[in-house]
């Protein structure tokens, strides 16, 4: 997907907005993305909408609120990876020449409380709570800690970093910094994961403008080099899906396609719905040795000032997780970092290559790995 450019990005802040509709949120994100791209609603040829909870097939109605009419609106649901799947399909549509300018929009209005399992047709997993996200990630955490000798404090450092970065992000849901002690002493959710190691349920929206044309001169060019989708069924895996084999496979494919290796990546966004998610997926992307990502967080190597910054906007743990919007928000942050527009959380110097990893439904809805280059 080498000829597809990101011309602009926009977010509605993530958080709880009981008086706003999904359409209200998405309209703001679209307006901001189009303004950054110096484009008008009339320039949009098609919209790819990712959403999973905020109403079935609602994309067209939501886009009406943004003033977009008369163009195809495609609805996509891949749980937490919905807008990354939307990006992959939108990029292919632009690359093929079918559309010149396309919007990728992710939005969500979250229900209160814990998410239901995303595993379709699985009453055992759903009604017994065993496929709920907290215990699923807790199993990952226990396995990871036992296998690599990682401590609770190391894992907690990922949450500390997330909150530190989120405090510098005006669009983040949780903006209060915390310490390792705060994280470890917050209420236990699923052993060993405490509340501060779990992402919040957030409302929010994010939008990306993709174009085959060069963006306006004031926006440096960012290309979508590769955006690959994969699925995994844990019960077909040796370790039941605890290891991030799908991410590892996809990362290999996007690096090969770009002719680069993980050592060329300057910044990353990974799906940190819970702290072990960041650790395992950073490693699966090849950005640090297996078993080291949590220790790297404790040593500040994955902080903004470190050698391999991860989730500079606070990630899901702090920016928040409106599940349909998360993938597009990851790309928005990388775009800002690559173009030097990330403000007080800008990596200096601005990196030239970035990777994003987004997972939906415990990998069985979709995992998407995206490579961006300036």
């Amino acid at each position: 997907v080498s000829d597809v450019e990101i011309a602009g990005v926009g977010l509605h802040p993530f958080g709880r907005f009981p008086d706003l509709t999904a359409a209200d949120l998405a309209a703001v994100a679209v307006e901001r993305a189009l303004a950054m791209a110096d484009l008008q609603v009339q320039d949009v040829d098609a919209v790819f909408c990712g959403h999973a909870i905020a109403g079935s097939a609602g994309g067209a109605a939501v886009m009406l609120e943004a003033g977009i009419t008369g163009v195809p609106v495609v609805n996509l649901d891949a749980a937490c990876a919905s807008s990354s799947v939307a990006l992959s399909l939108a990029a292919s549509a632009v690359e093929s020449g079918r559309y010149g300018t396309v919007l990728v929009v992710g939005y969500e209005k979250m229900e209160p409380g814990m998410l239901r399992s995303a595993r379709a047709l699985d009453p055992v997993g759903d009604l017994l709570g065993i496929e709920a996200q907290p215990p699923s990630y807790a199993l990952k955490a226990k396995w990871y800690m036992d296998r690599y000798g990682v401590t609770s404090s190391d894992l907690a450092a990922i949450a500390v970093k997330a909150r530190t970065n989120g405090a510098r992000n005006e669009n983040a849901h949780l903006r209060k910094e915390v310490t390792v002690e705060d994280v470890l002493h917050s209420p236990m959710i699923a052993d060993p994961l405490t509340r501060f190691q779990c992402c919040p349920s957030s409302d929010g929206a994010a939008a990306l403008v993709l174009t085959a044309r060069r963006p306006a001169a004031h926006n440096p060019k960012v290309r979508v080099v590769a955006c690959e989708i994969g699925n995994q069924f844990g019960d077909a895996q040796v370790t039941g899906g605890i290891e991030e084999n799908t991410t590892r496979d996809l990362a290999g494919r996007v690096y090969e396609r770009a002719g680069i290796g993980p050592g060329d990546i300057g910044i990353a966004q990974v799906h940190d719905a819970f702290t072990p998610g960041e650790a395992l997926r950073t490693e699966a992307l090849g950005l640090c040795p297996d078993g080291e990502a949590a220790r790297w967080a404790a040593e500040r190597k994955t902080w903004i000032t470190g050698s391999m910054p991860v989730n500079t906007d606070g990630g899901l743990l702090s920016r928040g997780h409106p599940i349909g919007a998360t993938g597009a928000a990851q790309i928005a942050e990388l775009y800002l970092q690559l173009t030097g527009q990330a403000g007080q959380r800008q990596k200096d110097p601005a990196p030239g290559t970035a990777v994003a990893q987004n997972t939906g439904g415990g990998e069985n809805a979709a995992t998407v790995v995206t490579l961006l280059c300036r």
Binding site: P135, S136, A236
Partner: protein, 142 residues
């Protein structure tokens, strides 16, 4: 109502017929498939093998297994059939398949512990339902 002595009521509703069944004599059977192409066994029952996509036949799986990793859930949605705290364990059956199970065992399960998959009768909205759980070997029905 059709229950064999010491067994389950054969008319009881199972929570997921792809995963388990109650046989005519009231015994609990853990279901899975054997792939007719690659020979792999997996759980639950499906039309095709999740590893290679080949055709599969339904088979009864061994209920013996070993814990890969375990956790304790301290929060859950209110409508679940079991409420916290309860254990969630990932187990590898002696037949090979890996599956996630709850466990109401009073002692904590740990990696390497031997378990058996046993029926778990729960109160559903429309009456009793049969689910399944991991039980440490030697302490079942403790």
């Amino acid at each position: 109502m059709g229950a064999a002595e010491g067994g389950l009521d054969s008319s009881a509703k199972v929570l997921d017929g792809r995963r388990m069944e109650i046989t005519g004599d009231g015994a609990f059977a853990l279901l899975g498939i054997r792939c007719l192409s690659c020979g792999a066994r997996s759980h639950p029952a499906r039309r095709h093998c999740p590893s290679c996509g080949g055709p599969a036949e339904v088979t009864q799986l061994s209920t013996a297994g070993e814990v890969i990793v375990a956790t304790v859930a301290h929060t859950a949605r209110a409508e679940l059939l079991i409420q916290p705290p309860y254990q969630v364990v990932l187990v590898r059956l002696s037949d090979g398949p890996v599956l996630k199970l709850p466990s109401l065992a009073s002692r904590p399960l740990r990696a390497g512990d031997a378990i058996t998959v046993e029926p778990l009768v729960l109160a559903g909205a429309a009456g009793p339902v049969v689910a399944m759980q991991a039980c440490p070997v030697g302490s079942f029905r403790e």
